[in-house]
């Protein structure tokens, strides 16, 4: 087979383009050009390391291309401490000095969680190479980008050079999903099921490429959920080949006006393995403490008493997630003894949910609606758990200590399970009603 006709997976195609080569293969070591480099508050550490790189060189510390850097404040907003506020201030000053325009400060018009801000503003395009100092950067594969999480020092290097140094082209696991979800079964259930099948390390150093009619029929919000949580099976990235839905999202939601390429993997691309899933056979799923791969059908843990429910995060804080909760809680009340927090993924989603009346429905039911941010998901800003508390969350991780207390438990589920359980105060199968 000649070089130019080599069959390639999605990630191989993207990395070939990003390195100006006709073809690349899994295992090749490359230095791809970066199209978008995102950081949140941990940009403070990136900045520290960036300045460290230039120390003693006699050169000015300027980023390679300010138009390709995004800084989004979301982890501790508004700042919970003077320390955070000072870190945010340092970054704000840096952003101004360097002329970084993809900057989303703490604002009710354009702020929000980085993994919602990037897609909804059209910053992510099919075929792009996206890095972020956040493990859930995998989300952006939903738009056909190769997007992966890196550490702060690696990002400092990207800020300096505009390339990711010494990247090994990952192998790919192909996941084919066919069939129609049963009522109350959602993309979150699909990805939880897949993580349970693969285990927490089953896709370590691999890309998960999603195919099948279920994926083709899935809106971008659902694709963001499944790519987001691909990292919980260890994946470098999740990716959905861009299609008509991708173009619709970019045009209608992200207001992208220029032409956008769509492409897929070659038909005879080489995969490490293929997994087939029948979506129609899936029950609602739940990940039990303290690992994300400890996944069971929800009926197996139904009846377990809960103390806090969280709907939000980069995984499930989008408009359709909030809509599901509002529809279930319409005219009902959150059970006494349960605290329910909803935090929309972006200010824009917050405003849309407000205009549609979802937020007042939720508040009338007893929900606390919080501003957009990451805080409760990782226990760093509001919503901490008490010793012995059990939380049910639509977020992405249930590690011991995740919600701020190692003496508490976190279960992960879809917004349908979370909302049904809010009414009863115990883990509830949404097919049996809340």
């Amino acid at each position: 087979m000649g070089e130019k006709t080599k069959a390639m997976t999605m990630v191989e195609k993207i990395l070939a383009k990003a390195t100006g080569q006709a073809a690349v293969s899994a295992g090749d070591v490359l230095e791809p050009k970066i199209d978008l480099a995102m950081s949140h508050e941990n940009g403070a550490l990136v900045l520290n390391q960036f300045l460290e790189i230039y120390k003693g060189t006699g050169l000015d510390a300027n980023v390679w291309d300010p138009s390709k850097i995004a800084i989004i404040f979301d982890h501790r907003v508004p700042a919970e401490s003077a320390k955070t506020a000072t870190n945010q201030k340092k970054l704000r000053d840096f952003v101004n000095k360097q002329g970084i325009v993809k900057f989303h400060d703490i604002r009710g018009d354009e702020g929000g969680i980085c993994h919602q801000i990037l897609p909804e503003n059209g910053y992510v395009r099919p075929g792009a190479v996206v890095v972020g100092t956040d493990s859930h950067t995998t989300s952006h594969g939903a738009l056909g980008a190769f997007a992966f999480g890196i550490g702060a020092t690696e990002m400092a290097s990207v800020w300096a050079l505009g390339i990711a140094l010494n990247i090994e082209v990952p192998g790919t696991i192909k996941v084919v999903v066919n069939g129609k979800f049963a009522p109350h079964v959602l993309p979150k259930d699909l990805i939880l099921y897949l993580i349970g099948q693969l285990s927490a390390e089953g896709a370590n150093f691999k890309v998960i490429e999603f195919h099948g009619e279920t994926i083709r029929n899935m809106p971008t919000s659902g694709r963001l959920t499944i790519c987001n949580m691909s990292v919980e099976a260890g994946a470098t990235s999740g990716i959905v080949p861009p299609d008509a839905e991708t173009l619709r999202y970019l045009k209608e939601t992200a207001h992208v006006t220029e032409a956008v390429p769509t492409f897929g993997p070659d038909a005879d691309a080489v995969y490490e393995r293929t997994i087939e899933i029948d979506a129609a056979a899936l029950d609602p799923q739940i990940a039990c403490p303290h690992t994300v791969d400890n996944v069971k059908p929800v009926q197996e843990v139904a009846g377990k008493a809960i103390h806090q429910i969280v709907i939000g995060s980069c995984t499930n804080g989008r408009l359709d997630d909030i809509e599901i909760a509002a529809k279930v809680l319409q005219g009902k009340r959150v059970a006494r003894g349960v605290r329910m927090l909803v935090f929309p993924a972006s200010s824009r989603i917050y405003q849309e949910a407000m205009k549609l009346g979802y937020l007042s429905t939720l508040m009338e039911a007893g929900v606390v609606v919080m501003n957009s941010g990451c805080g409760p998901c990782l226990g760093i800003h509001q919503g901490a758990l008490a010793d012995g508390d059990v939380a049910l969350a639509t977020t992405n991780r249930n590690f011991k200590g995740r919600m701020g207390n190692p003496a508490a438990e976190v279960y992960l589920c879809s917004p349908a399970v979370a909302a049904a359980s809010a009414v009863t105060g115990v883990i509830t199968d949404p097919r049996k009603g809340g």
């Binding site: 790189i53 060189t57 956040d134 999480g149 050079l161 390390e201 370590n204 200590g401």
Partner: protein
Amino acid sequence: MGKVVLLLGDDISTDIIYPGRFMATVLPSETPQFAFADSVEFNKQLKAGEIPPGSVIVAGKNFGCGSSREQAASCLKGPDLVVVARHFARIFLQNSINLGMRTVICPDIEAEQGDELEIGADKVTNKTSGKSYAIVALPKSRQAIIDAGGLIPYTRQRILQEKK
């Protein structure tokens, strides 16, 4: 030679290594105080300076899974701890290499708390049990970074080369 000071199982997440509630602290000089903060006894010994440099953490599969927080690597690099694990999660492994920290992939490692380990180029010898275990080389793609002593000096070299 290093003594095993912490023995851990599989899937040790970055939330266990460096709990999220301390993430506002970012500087490598400040993160070691929060290393394994919820493993209270170990953290106390570490802060009291009772754990000598070169001491070893032995762990199972997928060490460092979860978040990309670099604090999880810098908090171990500061007190010069070595992690010997059956294998590592991708981002943690890259972070530790980028910071010039010593990480050892040793798929069959067996050790108990207090054992003395000798870490060679291609094997780990448990001096207490007398058994040796093969080391899997770190990804070849990272060798240039390891040779330079970490990603900061490596990137600095690259910038200076480009200027020439």
